[in-house]
Symmetry: C2
Subunit: 109 residues, 2 copies
DNA sequence: ACAACATTTCTATATTAGTGGAAATATAGA
DNA sequence: TCTATATTTCCACTAATATAGAAATGTTGT
C-alpha cells in the first residue's frame, strides 16, 4: 500500500452516505447485501447509491458479486486491514506502544 | 464516536497532502514537529500547510502546542485508535475473526 | 420475444475543496 | 520599540464532488 492507494480508500470512506454503506456491509458480514437492499435500508435513491458503491468498489473496499438479477456487495476486510496497518506504519520511530496498542488490547480483552 | 465524527476524521486524512502530514507526525512521535519543519520537509507553501493543519486539528487528529514562536503539531493516537475501533465495530455480526485480527496479529508477532 | 425487475449510466445543478501569494498577527530578542 | 522569524488569515481562482430524475442496460421466467 502506498500513499495514493490509501488516499483513494480514505476518500471512499470520508463521506456520510458511503461510510454508512460500508458499516452496513461490515455488519452484514462476508455474505454482503444486494444493492436494492442497501438502498431500502438507507432510504437512498438507486442512482445515488450506485454512485457511492462505484466509489467504494473503485477503492477496493467493497466487492460486487452478481447473482441472478441481484448484485451482492460485501466489505473487503483485507483491504481495510491493509489501510489500518499503513496508517500506523513506522509509528513513533519504533516505539509501537503509543500507537495501535489500544485497539489490540480492546480486541483481546 | 459517531458517524459524523468519523466522517470528519476520515475526510481530514483523505487528501494527499494531509495524509503525508499525518504520517510524518506519526513517525515523529509524541514530541511532534514545528509547522515550519513540516513545510520544509514536505516542500509545501506555509499557507497551504496551515490550511491542511487546520483541517487535521479540526478533526482532532493532530494537536498543536505553542512553544515560543514555534507551534509543534503531534499526532493524536487516541483519536486514531477510536476511529479504527469505530470502523470495525459490530464486525461480521460478532465473528470478529474476519476483521481487525490481521492487524493485531501483525503487531504482536 | 416480451414483461418485470435490478442496477447502472447519463445529465444537469448546486455546493464544496485545494492552492498559493500577499497581508496580518504573534512571539522573541536586542 | 524595532526587527527578524513563525504562523495564520484573507482572497481569488480553478476544479472536483454529491445529488437525483430519466433513460439505458442487463437478467430472469414465461
Amino acid at each position: 500500500m502506498n500513499t495514493k492507494d490509501a488516499v483513494v480508500i480514505l476518500f471512499s470512506l470520508a463521506q456520510g452516505a458511503r461510510l454508512e454503506i460500508f458499516r452496513l456491509l461490515v455488519q452484514a458480514g462476508p455474505a454482503g447485501l444486494a444493492a436494492g437492499d442497501i438502498a431500502t435500508r438507507l432510504d437512498m435513491p438507486a442512482s445515488t447509491l450506485s454512485f457511492h458503491l462505484k466509489e467504494l468498489a473503485h477503492a477496493g473496499l467493497v466487492k460486487p458479486l452478481q447473482s441472478g438479477r441481484f448484485i451482492y456487495y460485501s466489505a473487503a476486510f483485507d483491504v481495510m486491514n491493509g489501510l489500518l496497518a499503513f496508517l500506523t506504519e513506522n509509528c513513533c520511530e519504533g516505539a509501537q506502544d503509543c500507537c495501535v496498542s489500544a485497539v489490540c488490547q480492546a480486541e483481546s480483552a
